[in-house]
Symmetry: C2
Subunit: 185 residues, 2 copies
DNA sequence: AACCATGCGGACCGGCGGTCCGCTTCGTTG
DNA sequence: CAACGAAGCGGACCGCCGGTCCGCATGGTT
C-alpha cells in the first residue's frame, strides 16, 4: 500500500538532484536546494532517503543498475563464462565509461559517503566482483586489497584529472595498463 | 619580527589538535574545540592556519618531515643512490608505518582536504617521488597514474580496514604485493 | 461519504567553518 | 622607563547546512 504521491515525489527528487548536479557540479548541492528544485518539502526528502548519504547512494545505484545487470548476464564479455582476466578488464572499461558519464555524481557520492564508503551497496558489489576476478586471475595477490586499489582509479578527482587530458579513453588506457601489469605480475 | 606569543600559540594549537585526535579520533574535531583545548581564540587559529584544511595540512607536514628528509639523504635504502625498485618498496613500507602511527590524522586530513587533495603539498611530494620511481622501474606504465593508485593504498579507511586484521605488517605486505606485481608486469 | 494511516512541508534546531573588529600585548625607539 | 604603533588576540557574530518535528492535507479503503 504505497501511496502514489510518495513514488512521484521520490522520482521528482532524484530528477531534481540530477539536474542540480548537471548544472552546478558536485559542490553547493544542499538538500534545501534539492527539495526546492523538486517542488517538495525537506521532510519529504528525508522520509524518502533518510539522509544525504542515502540520496546519493540511491542515485548511484540507479545509474549503475545496467552495469550490475550486465555483470550477471552470460554472453557479454562482462558476464559469467568469460575468462576472469577478460571479464575484469571489460568491467573496468565499463566503469570508466560510467565514471565519465556521471563524474559529478561520483564526486557528490564520494563526499556524501566518505564517512563509511565501505558500506555503500554499489561499492560493495563492485568490490566483491573485482575481488573474485582478481583472486581467479592473479592468485598470488591479496585480492580484496588489490580490488580496493583498482577501484580507487575511479575516485572522482583522479578520474577528472586524468580525463582532463585525453577523456575517458585516456582513463581506460591508464586503468587497463595498471590492471594488466597487476595480473601479469 | 615574529611575536613570541604567535609562535607559542601556533604550537599550542598543533598540540591540542593532536590531543583531540588521539582522544576522539578524526570525528567531532571542530575548530571551536581545538581552539578551546589550546586555550586560544578561534580568530587566532584562523590567523595561523587560514582554514581547517590548512591546519591539518600543516600537522601532516610536520609528521611527515622525517620521511621527507630520509627520501633525500643518501645512504638509506630510501635515499638517492639505491635502485628505484628498492627505493620505492622501502618508501611504501615507511609510509605504512607513518599511516599506522597517524591513522586519525590521516583520516582527518583526508576529510579536510577532500575538496582538492591533489594540491596538498605533502601529497604532491609523495606523488612526485613515487611517479619518478615508477617511471624508472616500470617504463611501460602511466607512472603518474600508477603513483596515484599506489598512494591510494594509504587511504585512512582502507588502511584501518586492512590493519584491523594484521596491523601495519599486514598493510605493508599487501601494499608490497601490489607494488611488486605492478613493477614486474 | 466518512475515516484514518500515510505522507507532506517548512519552521525550527544545534553546530559548523569562517569573519570582524575593538581591545591587548609585544618589542622597539628615544 | 615611557610611550607608541604594529602585530596579534579572542569571542561574538554570521550564513549555511543536515536533520527533526508535528500540525495538517491527501489518497485509498470500506
Amino acid at each position: 500500500m504505497v501511496r502514489s504521491d510518495a513514488t512521484r515525489n521520490r522520482e521528482a527528487i532524484l530528477r531534481a538532484t540530477e539536474e542540480l548536479l548537471a548544472a552546478h557540479g558536485a559542490e553547493h548541492i544542499s538538500l534545501d536546494r534539492v527539495a526546492a528544485a523538486a517542488g517538495v518539502g525537506k521532510g519529504t526528502l528525508f522520509r524518502r532517503f533518510g539522509s544525504r548519504t542515502g540520496l546519493f547512494q540511491e542515485l548511484l545505484a540507479e545509474r549503475a543498475a545496467a552495469l550490475a545487470e550486465a555483470i550477471e548476464s552470460p554472453g557479454s564479455p562482462l558476464g559469467p563464462g568469460a575468462p576472469p582476466r577478460d571479464r575484469l578488464l571489460a568491467f573496468l572499461d565499463e566503469l570508466a565509461g560510467l565514471a565519465e558519464r556521471n563524474l559529478a555524481l561520483f564526486a557528490a557520492h564520494e563526499r556524501a559517503c566518505a564517512a563509511d564508503k565501505y558500506r555503500d551497496p554499489t561499492y560493495l558489489r563492485w568490490h566483491a566482483h573485482v575481488t573474485a576476478l582478481v583472486a581467479a586471475a592473479a592468485p598470488g595477490l591479496d585480492a580484496a586489497f588489490a580490488a580496493h586499489t583498482l577501484l580507487a582509479s575511479f575516485d572522482a578527482d583522479l578520474a577528472r584529472h586524468v580525463m582532463a587530458e585525453g577523456g575517458a579513453d585516456r582513463l581506460r588506457a591508464s586503468v587497463r595498463g595498471v590492471a594488466e601489469a597487476l595480473l601479469r605480475g
